[in-house]
Symmetry: C2
Subunit: 320 residues, 2 copies
């Protein structure tokens, strides 16, 4: 839970502001964009002018959210307050975080990451929350703004994307209660699922087909790899993150990994494991990092030996 005194200070700071700069982090996801849009609309309903910044490209599957066109890469420019949502450290905001131009004006950080670096003057942080949207939900309630259907939809998009639809172990009864309240306010889970998850490109589906068809299952490890030329032939440059999840859906698989070769010859590794297997040590051993059940690394060439290097690292980690 965040500090209630911090919440009071954030409320006073925002209520006193005429203009509020709100930034979401680079490599944006549904939680940062949804939190940003919901907070902006709530502040607009209180008569504030908002400036929305994101120093990166917004994923196409979030274009259905109201107000998404107002977001653009922007630097702070004399606004009264600067709010940063869902970013665990100051490096994740690109040019949107420029303390020099904010001068003495207050910086508010709203975040839920365990690895949070509290770089704000006011840090509204709850590491027990499954999403930043849940903290923004509390903030909007404390601001006494009635949630419109579009505020509700933006917040629920944040909750659903960060919890994979209430499915992660971080999902609490409070998460579900907020989800219920947002549906009552007019948000639609089927619409969010349809827009966010069921708008994949046909090229992505063909990468999935290729990955499955070329997969190998050895000692409860299910893995696959795709080289850069094949990715190019299939028309995919990025967005293969759903593949490894599909591999781990097989009963016999306790660890799954997927390798994609990049243009410069380096290889992206995505690692996933069942709840009773901690994969983070394998990623660290390979120069990467991440969580217990989801981790990754960037491996040096050559592509041909990459899978064996990962299999060796798994074996070293579990049979020392």
């Amino acid at each position: 839970m965040f500090d209630p005194q911090v919440l009071s200070s954030v409320i006073i700071t925002l209520k006193n502001a005429r203009t509020v700069f709100i930034a979401a982090h680079i490599q944006p996801d549904g939680d940062c964009v949804g939190s940003q849009l919901a907070l902006a609309e709530a502040l607009q309903l209180l008569g504030k002018r908002t400036v929305l910044s994101l120093d990166d490209k917004i994923p196409e599957n979030l274009n259905f959210l109201k107000g998404v066109k107002e977001i653009a890469p922007r630097e702070p420019n004399g606004e009264d307050v600067f709010v940063y949502v869902d970013g665990s450290d100051s490096k994740r905001y690109g040019k949107a975080l420029n303390r020099a131009s904010s001068g003495t004006r207050p910086v508010i950080l709203i975040d839920h990451h365990v690895t949070n670096e509290p770089f704000g003057d006011l840090n509204l942080v709850d590491t027990a929350a499954a999403s930043t949207a849940e903290i923004v939900f509390d903030l909007i309630r404390a601001l006494q703004v009635q949630r419109t259907p579009s505020i509700a939809q933006a917040l629920l998009t944040g909750i659903i994307t960060d919890t994979m639809g209430f499915r992660t172990t971080a999902t609490t009864p409070a998460t579900l209660e907020k989800g219920t309240a947002l549906v009552r306010d007019g948000a639609s889970i089927p619409q969010i699922i349809d827009q966010v998850y069921n708008r994949r490109s046909y090229a992505f589906l063909r990468v999935l087909g290729y990955a499955i068809s070329h997969s190998k299952l050895e000692r409860h490890i299910l893995w696959s790899a795709i080289d850069y030329k094949t990715l190019q032939d299939l028309g995919v440059n990025n967005g293969t993150s759903g593949v490894v999840t599909q591999l781990l859906s097989v009963a016999d698989a306790r660890i799954a990994f997927f390798l994609t070769e990049k243009q410069d010859g380096h290889i992206d590794l995505s690692l996933r494991s069942r709840a009773d297997v901690d994969i983070s040590g394998v990623a660290t051993r390979l120069g990467g990092g991440g969580h217990k059940q989801a981790a990754g690394a960037l491996l040096p060439p050559p592509f041909e030996t990459a899978a064996q290097r990962v299999l060796d690292a798994i074996q070293q980690e579990y049979k020392p």
Copy 2:
């Protein structure tokens, strides 16, 4: 909503019974088995003896539910009350529904299907409920039984499987509220998802890979087909129902279908469509049936022309 007077009568009937026969329907799913087990445990806590019947094989992915081994194909045999859960008509219970042997003893039907045939003496039916488990939730509360973690897990399994994890349009705020209460009682969404959905066979995954790799996208119709010999080579006899859902996850696809050739030469058709396309007429035209967004049919041989027959039926239905 069901009739509150029916609920009162059901409560009195169950409280007066010493032995209760509870049957789930054939081609069982998580909702019927979860509802059956939750009601049985609640009645056992009230000191009743329960006899659990299911005239079919229980899917392996439900084996994690407590008490599942107590379920077997059984005929009514002198119990005081006979309860049938989640079946829309009397034909869906096989030999578990034998009115002759129940004689004058009361038959209770608990169901949520719109197409419900009220064959019970007492029909506790709510067609607005997204799952039968939600009605059993109300019944257990009315019986004043405290939900144990295993009752909660069985009910939440019913809710999650029938709503695809709160994702269907039938999911109401009441559904989400019950889900929240069940998590508070000790049920685990991650465990249910892991057990029910992430225990696919590697053979199934290879069928998915084959289907995707051989799929075609034409005029917003994404389809694929697999012949009997290939299915045999991949080691799959049944359970290809997840394939068509994956096909429909592509942005350009408004209709998806998947054909699987059976041993006798007939072809199973699975049809799916986006929310704004009603596919049920296509299935009817091909001798099948179903819902607006999910329908199916059994097509006669030959396999080679089956896809074209479906494509023609779609064209006839939408461009008459």
